[in-house]
Amino acid sequence: MADIRIDYYPTHEEQGIKFRRGHALPFGATMVPNGVNFSIYSSAATSCSLVLFERGEPEPFAEITFPDEFRIGNVYCMIVFDLDFERLEYGYRMDGPFNPEQGHRFDKSIILSDPYGKAIGGRDTWLAKPNWDNIYPYRSRLAFEDFDWEDDRPLELPIEDLVVYEMHVRGFTMHPSSEVRNPGTFSAIRSKIPYLKELGINCIELMPIYEYDEWENSRENPVTGELLINFWGYSTVNFFSPKAGYAATGKFGMQVDELKTLIKELHQNGIEVWLDVVFNHTAEGDHRGHTISFRGIDNKTYYMLTPEGYYFNFSGTGNTLNCNHPVVRNMVLDCLRYWAADYHIDGFRFDLAAILGRAQDGRPLSNPPLLESLAHDPILAKCKLIAEAWDAGGLYQVGSFPAYGRWAEWNGKYRDNLRKYLKGDEGQVGDMAQRILGSPDLYYQRGPTASINFICCHDGFTLYDMFAYNTKHNEANGENNNDGANDNHSWNCGWEGETDDPAINHLRHKLIKNAFAILMVSQGVPMVLMGDEMGRTQKGNNNTYCHDSELNWLNWSLMEENSDLYSFARHTIRFRQAHPVLRNSKHFQHRDYVGSGLPDVSLHGVSAWFPDWSESSRAFAVMFCGDHAKQGSSKDDVIYVAMNMYWEGLAFELPHLPNEKKWYLSVNTDLPHPADSFEIGAEPLLDQQNTVWVGSRSVVILVGR
């Protein structure tokens, strides 16, 4: 019907460009028959012009000031005819007051990116040297939105059934050992789908893929001369555009199609896609930063400002997005809706999400409108929403994040308790029992599905480094080892860094296996950091944000080198997927409500039914009753997990199984590979049915059937 609209004809002409009044909605640039509808808002601009470039050209081919009658409220809108959709780059120039105390920082000498632009030109190929004199470095472009999804849609898998794999797009396949055609790209992840399936994960969480500038704050390491860049990408230039440099076809402007193709194929293979989204700040920095878009369009609306007009810095990166301003809140909502509807994204993990609950003056809100809107939004209704429930301004909300029955959290307490327990700290078993049961102390109302359980993530040590380094070694970052966290709760097992000592290496591998074993039997949603399944190291660096090197690239030959770790990790993931009793959506009741003869869950110590919660205790066991799987709706084996982080072996008395069931051995991390785990269904019968020996710093998993 759009083709026959009688008002799609030009009413104005200037510099050879034909145009007319546009539509105020949707914001951004939208293809319409024979033209493009441009719409942008600013609460304080005094005038606005549209600047049009041919792709890559240094100078614009036209600049049209919006005639007064094209402004509706604070929205400037115009349809321009006969533009080349594929070759067009556009931006805006806004005039208005420069008066920081009033919150205004307009500068009409700058051409500004469209906050609603669907693609960005300028960083088309990863680390290609930019022209630093470009008058418009991050250029808004149009994106074709006609991708053929066939019958795909977000998978909507139950969150408790997921095993999440956190990965960096470039880091995953950039290492030569990955042997893919287009290393470091969306396309290369597609070639690794068979690997992800073999490992058994069913959700990938991509570290930021919104367009950012890898050259931001680039510098040379003063010691090594190595180029340091922004590798991680927690610094968004535009929230609607995928990072072109992550696409093999970014140089042809086809990153949108490439990313959608990846998502479609992951879905075909039963793998969800979550995005790590950074709505707490932008790449514009503080008052000394570059003006790219938001600052020049509507500084006072987009940023949290101090009474003096400086930037609040709750993000630790210079500025804070004013996300509970009604206009910014709508932008965030529009953005997530776009990614859910147009890219079929299954879930979003919000970086420093505590900021999203702050008022415009920075106060934490008890009922933050943005979080409430997201939780109740019809398009996002089936998306997973996950909060990193803290910020750099000291707000820590693990367990208390405003959830509206929807939000899950990165469970920072799970990470900290596990780490301390795994290295043998005393006084941990009580908390550990909470963590393994889905943290009912934190999420009593919300259920175990509120807890994303993890031991390692991109931020901090890898799992291997957790047991190879006592302290961080961040010298390569060029900040005199002052950056990165100090509370790693790590233990080097007796030697700092790499060693040939077989006893130390054996212990390290055993501790890694303990970590995987406990993570995969914990109620909640496990998340694995890319490469931890094969012992990836960052050489003790716990903050590798700036390295495009082997520090961040997954070395695929580790899969063979540490084949014991890889096959063990794979086993524990499969074990979890095979056993519904490990994946409940509701908390246990600690009673038998199906008449199986066992309570749904029970805790034990070296004596059955009598766990030792004393300060010096480092051992306990948990037993899940399979007849209570999925709240009694599913049948499973009984699973018994004995954990001994004491430095000597202990004999655990086993609870008696009803109905003549017997105990079989699935996992014993004390035994060398391949005796450390047994195929599901092929577990050997335990000789002794009333006790099991659990070696020093070891985990044993039994199945009762």
Binding site: F144, F147, D148, F186, A248, T249, F252, M254, E265
Partner: protein, 112 residues
């Protein structure tokens, strides 16, 4: 950019020469879409095409949909490695059968 249409063993062959980008795609689209009308077997010969932009790929997909509506298939012939790479990365390749040359393209239909 030139488009020629011919018939080989009852199969319509659309041969393109030159670059297919946003400037030339409409012309390619006009000739190809009318040549494909009512057909269920189409060969598109890209031997003389060096560059296919996003707009060009969309014309190919449009023809695919047209032919698929008649339960037919589209064979691409002589697709350069670079174009194949772009098509593979962006998912367009999934919709087509590839053949080295015209002869193999015709053969491909006999095997279907």
């Amino acid at each position: 950019m030139e488009v020629t249409v011919k018939s080989e063993e009852g199969i319509t062959v659309i041969e393109a020469a030159g670059n297919i980008d946003s400037k030339t795609a409409p012309e390619f689209q006009n000739s190809a879409v009318s040549a494909a009308e009512g057909k269920d077997k189409i060969i598109i010969d890209l031997t003389k095409v060096e560059f296919l932009s996003s707009a060009g790929l969309r014309v190919l997909l449009m023809i695919y949909r047209q032919i698929k509506a008649n339960n037919g298939q589209v064979v691409l012939v002589g697709t350069s490695e670079d174009i194949q790479d772009v098509m593979a990365n962006t998912g367009f390749l999934n919709f087509f059968i590839l053949a080295e040359n015209l002869e193999e393209g015709i053969q491909a239909f006999k095997e279907v």
